[in-house]
């Protein structure tokens, strides 16, 4: 409560307020534009086409799987980065964060060079087991996990660095195994951040476009997720594209609004 009072009484320079308003308008106007162009009357019909429902179903399944992959692999990576000192640590952290800044299309190209039919690993998967990741739903999950994992890793790593390690040390001296400490002390202590990381990773996976179309292709029901359906629809029916965009927007906004307090750690 004290903090809130302090905030409201701090005088703000007018220029700052003006620029803040400009920033908000810049972010808000495209959303308003979309809402104004939305064909509300046809919305139910547009969102129940086979393309729309298949894309929605596929998007939900693949984004949840991608978030799961990102969590199972990302939490251990975050733990190692936060708790261990090793040579090349800065390089490793750079590599982990790379998908955040890489254009997703480039991410898709790099995935092809690794996991495509003639890729570094992909050629053996294909020659030995006949597994083709491009043009498969598994390929979509990989593309999404690739771009989503950094969100989870940075969130969890930050949380691990901030918690008081004395609780873990106390547990150790009382005879708990490292595994027990991890599951009974460490993970419960960072649960809010972990959840935030998972949700952010999931939201990023849901919106993934470039890496998916490049690595996994575009086929309804198999690899055509919502963003790909928006892209395809835009060339035939603007209304359908806008309707599908609206679904993505609504889902993302809901997630981000409900997450904000937790993510910033400002909820008491």
């Amino acid at each position: 409560m004290k903090r809130t009072t302090a905030r409201t009484t701090t005088p703000a320079p007018r220029l700052l307020i003006a620029l803040a308003a400009l920033a908000l308008a810049f972010l808000l106007l495209p959303l308003i534009g979309l809402l104004l162009e939305t064909p509300w009357a046809q919305l139910p019909a547009l969102l129940t086409t086979t393309t729309a429902t298949e894309a929605l179903r596929l998007s939900i399944i693949t984004s949840l799987l991608a978030a799961a992959v990102a969590t199972i692999l990302g939490v251990p990576l975050a733990w190692v980065l936060a708790r261990k000192e090793f040579t090349g640590q800065r390089l490793v952290r750079g590599i982990v964060l790379l998908p955040l800044v890489l254009p997703p299309v480039v991410g898709g190209v790099t995935l092809l060079t690794a996991f495509g039919r003639r890729g570094l690993v992909g050629q053996y998967l294909y020659d030995w087991f006949g597994i083709q990741l491009p043009f498969s739903t598994a390929g979509v999950v990989m593309a999404e996990a690739f771009v989503a994992m950094p969100f989870l890793v940075i969130t969890v790593e930050g949380a691990l660095r901030n918690i008081d390690t004395r609780y873990e040390q106390a547990a150790r001296t009382l005879g708990a195994s490292p595994r027990t400490v991890l599951f009974r002390i460490t993970l419960p202590m960072i649960s809010a951040s972990l959840l935030a990381g998972i949700v952010l990773a999931w939201a990023r996976a849901l919106g993934e476009f470039g890496a998916t179309i490049t690595f996994a292709g575009n086929f309804p029901g198999v690899t055509q997720t919502l963003p790909l359906a928006v892209y395809s629809a835009l060339e035939v029916s603007r209304d359908e594209a806008i309707a599908l965009s609206l679904v993505l927007l609504a889902v993302s906004l809901t997630v981000l609004v409900s997450l904000r307090g937790r993510f910033l750690g400002s909820r008491s």
């Binding site: 997703p104 092809l112 003639r118 043009f135 292709g217 575009n218 892209y231 835009l234 993302s252």
Partner: protein, 246 residues
């Protein structure tokens, strides 16, 4: 969230309203030509020849699927010339365009990666469920032509992917991610040794006719470019890339 195309449209609208790159300039005029992905190589060469013949005019190209280009023009993108791979896509932006003229034609072919690992010899081989083959999305001209081709030959097949333009299909075939792709004959010519072309006989093939038109708002330089494409030298370049006469 990613909405690349919407973003691109918004951006081109913004650009169109504040700084039209088509504005006449004392030194040089730059014209923007939106052309179908299949024209990438031929038009790049035509552009160079055109600038050589008209030193005052620079040509900037915007290659993509014809339907994307039509959508961009409808959204107000600052384009001076539009060359599409089918009249159907051009008609989508018809209101913004002058009278179109046909300038080339093209037909389909099967492209396989170098060495043809799946041993494709005819369209019928695409029915083998073990063959991974990809096509253009039906929204773009090559996809519409592919659909007509498959229908005409009574083939019930399921492709692995519907790619956003013909060059995306070609790229994935070159990379050997797919056993075969249906592309234009000209694309297999452009790819050279990187792909193996499996020809489709004329009597069962589908022919696309390519129209070109300047936009209504375009400067005179745009008409000069259209004339150049239709001229002897323009047509000769199109022939070297294996486009047929319109």
């Amino acid at each position: 969230m990613r909405f690349p195309l919407l973003a691109a449209l918004a951006l081109s609208l913004a650009l169109a309203s504040c700084a039209p790159p088509t504005a006449d300039n004392d030194d040089a005029t730059t014209i923007t030509v939106s052309a179908a992905a299949s024209l990438t190589d031929a038009f790049t060469e035509i552009g160079e020849a055109f600038t050589e013949a008209n030193p005052g005019i620079e040509v900037r190209f915007n290659f993509a699927g014809s339907s994307t280009l039509a959508e961009q023009i409808n959204a107000g993108a600052p384009v001076d010339v539009f060359a599409a791979a089918s009249s159907l896509s051009m008609d989508r932006a018809r209101d913004a365009l002058a009278e179109p003229t046909l300038f080339a034609s093209n037909s389909l072919a099967i492209a396989a990666p170098a060495g043809n690992p799946a041993g494709i010899v005819s369209l019928a081989d695409l029915q083998d469920p073990n063959v991974t083959f990809i096509v253009c999305a039906v929204q773009v001209p090559c996809g519409a032509a592919t659909e007509a081709l498959l229908e005409r030959n009574g083939l019930e097949v399921t492709p692995s992917s519907l790619e956003p333009d013909v060059r995306a299909v070609l790229t994935k075939v070159i990379a050997d991610e797919a056993d075969a792709g249906i592309v234009y004959r000209t694309d297999t010519a452009a790819a050279g040794d990187q792909v193996e072309q499996i020809a489709i006989a004329d009597e069962v093939n589908v022919i696309n006719h390519y129209p070109i038109a300047a936009t209504k708002a375009a400067p005179q330089a745009a008409d000069a470019f259209v004339d150049f494409v239709l001229s002897e030298s323009g047509q000769q370049i199109l022939r070297t890339w294996e486009f047929a006469s319109p």
